[in-house]
């Protein structure tokens, strides 16, 4: 080293080219480069461990806050205003309804789109233009913030572009099946009397003699109408079905399980359709990837045996891509479970005591309930919010575990 000549004034950039002997400066340079490399490695290790630390810290802080409030009540109770009695049951069932419906809607459309893009080569210039438009569109849709989908869903599904708006002004919906409306009166004997109303937009019923009326158990009753000049009946049995001729009623609706209406309103179906828009690009992209991973020799073999393109897809390509598709779909669904913003726009923050009973029922989902609790100032609500987060994370974790399991168990080498 000491025998090396002092460096000439040559440009640094081309120093490693050519067989010129290593100069002292170059060696010193390489030493410092080595040191720099070692330093950078430490920086890297430190940076990489930051993300692990963040995750540990995040989970620890949630656990510390949430574990004390974990209880059976939190899982099975209603969201009562008292944090000690509050629970997630309506939100849990809302999540199950919305996500199951979303999966039913999204999977066929998403997988079909992926099959179209991957398995059917465009045969004309227009077709290939359309393919590239769809492909570009999907990658752009994946970047659209989910809250924008919520706004779209608000107009497209909840309000249906205002196409049915004339009925909206009466407070009803343009088209409904599976519902019966009643006007409810309270008689002088404090009994409920129900008067069926054929159309929700009709004005309130005016009590009159001989109208069709039922008691609360749907038994036909005769209503006795009196004016203020008439003598007030004394008998209890008569009083039970006696109304003044100017009594006021309240509108009741009884909806059966198949209740359906247009526009959809702020119901489960509108929420599921909106989540469908959010998850569709995710499912398309992951299905495309798993279809691409199927070796083309399998397809060629099936085609060579005389199978039609669809027979190849249905009998050969899809079965071998199923593990990948299932993994991608489960991950997309776990994203849908955690999605809050679009559901918040669709459903609003409501006080919901029941799990949904039909497709149009008001609903809330777990992340939304957690948001509701977390946004309150009291510490007790933060505690149950953390408890809810633990339950939510456990559900997501089990979803991810299932996905990983499928990936490991079912994926066989295909080529």
């Amino acid at each position: 080293m000491s025998t090396a000549k002092p460096p000439k004034s040559e440009p640094k950039t081309k120093s490693t080219i050519g067989p010129s002997p290593a100069t002292e400066a170059q060696l010193r340079g390489s030493e410092s480069r080595m040191r720099f490399d070692a330093t950078f490695r430490y920086v890297c290790v430190f940076t990489a461990s930051v993300s692990v630390l963040i995750l540990v810290f995040l989970l620890a802080s949630i656990l510390v806050q949430g574990v004390p409030s974990l209880s059976w009540t939190l899982l099975s109770g209603n969201p009562e205003p008292n944090p000690l009695e509050a629970g997630l049951r309506p939100a849990l069932f809302g999540t199950i309804w919305v996500c199951a419906l979303c999966a039913l809607l999204t999977l066929p459309v998403g997988i079909a789109t992926a099959i179209l893009l991957e398995e059917f080569q465009p045969r004309s210039r227009f077709a290939s233009w359309m393919y590239s438009a769809i492909q570009l569109n999907i990658s752009n849709l994946a970047g659209v913030p989910s809250v924008v989908y919520g706004i779209l869903g608000l107009t497209a599904f909840v309000g249906m572009f205002g196409l049915f708006s004339q009925a909206d002004k009466g407070g009803g919906f343009a088209y409904e099946i599976g519902v019966e409306h009643y006007d409810q009166f309270f008689s002088e004997g404090s009994r409920a009397i129900l008067i069926p109303v054929p159309d929700a937009s009709k004005p309130a019923t005016v009590p009159h003699e001989g109208m069709v009326a039922y008691d609360f158990d749907k038994n036909r009753v005769e209503v006795n109408i009196i004016g203020y000049d008439d003598p007030y009946p004394e008998d209890e049995d008569v009083l039970a079905y006696t109304l003044f001729n100017d009594s006021e009623s309240g509108r009741l609706s009884e909806k059966s399980w198949y209740y359906f209406r247009l526009p959809f309103g702020r119901g489960v179906l509108a929420g599921a359709l909106t989540l469908m828009l959010v998850t569709l690009p995710v499912i398309i992209i992951s299905t495309q990837e798993s279809l691409r991973a199927v070796p083309s020799s399998l397809r060629a073999g099936a085609l060579g045996l005389g199978a039609t393109p669809w027979q190849v897809i249905w009998n050969v390509t899809l079965p071998s891509a199923v593990p990948g598709i299932m993994t991608g779909s489960i991950l997309a669904m776990s994203r849908a479970i955690g999605e809050t913003a679009p559901i918040l726009i669709i459903a609003g923050i409501l006080f919901i005591m029941n799990s949904p009973r039909h497709l149009m029922d008001d609903f809330t989902v777990m992340p939304l309930q957690i948001f509701n609790w977390a946004s309150r100032p009291q510490d007790e609500f933060h505690g149950i919010a953390a408890g809810g987060i633990i339950i939510l994370l456990l559900i997501l974790l089990s979803f991810n575990a299932i996905a990983v399991l499928i990936r490991h168990k079912m994926q066989k080498p295909l080529s």
Partner: protein, 330 residues
Amino acid sequence: MSSSSPDAAIPTNADENRLNDRVRELLASPRRSLAVIRAREAGVYVLLVMCGLFSLLVTVAILWVLSTEMLNFFSSDEVTLANFLGSTEWSPLLGSTKSFGIWALICGTMLVTVIAMAIALPLGLVTAIYLSEYAPRRVRGILKPTLEVLAGVPTVVYGFFALTTITPILHWLHGGFGVYNATSAGIAVGILCLPTVCSLSEDALQAVPRALREAAYGLGGTRFDASIKVIVPAALSGIISAFLLAIARAFGETMIVALAAGSRPQVTMDPRNEIQTMTGFMVQMAGGDLSNYDVTYYSMYAVAFTLFILTLTLTMIGNIVRKRFREAYE
């Protein structure tokens, strides 16, 4: 297929008989007509095309809904385009002195995004370089799942974390932070974007051909030389596109800012202040009463349109950068 694999069980007599029966059955069944098969193929194709067009329909619907509702917004007497684009005061809920200056919301969004990117971009890129160039297999086995879990945590959880953990820590470090502040939300959004930056950058780094790496080592480069001077420049288009996608993600992030950033729209550069982002405003509107279809309701669509255009531009530039400016080596 399965019968041709080498480790398949040797067929027994019964198996063989069953197979023969099956073949006979197939041969005996009448041949399906070609016309039926062709019709089915065409029908399936049409069905698939319709599903494919659905995604285009979604984009058209987004554009149509947002632009028509925004026209509704601008047709109101209380709104002018000059006010929308020129004012820095966003106060749609005040009765008489409504002002719709979108810059107050954009500024809030920018502040959160800058803080988030100051965390996510360096951390994400360095982690990606480490994962791609340095990390031994065992460390990868810990880091990759960690990042996947971080990416899978719902955003409302990050919002809760920001509100109940990051904000008190900030408050303890420096008294000037409010209960709601931009820094806390920004840090949480940064954590949220970290896995995005990291996995997309790592994909870009992994796509650089081996030959380049080996050439760099062969010329006497250290790992640092190889990764920073050769591989990162080669993967630059992918890295930039990852950065742009992360910025778009931070723009559109909703629940964190709704929980932790507050609800006072203002133009400020002070990260300790309470701010409101575009998404935060939409959540505020949706959480309240949406039944009255007045100008405040339609302002939500104007904000959504602005956000959509901003994120769409970023995503599209990101996709173009990745495709067009990719250094092709093979």
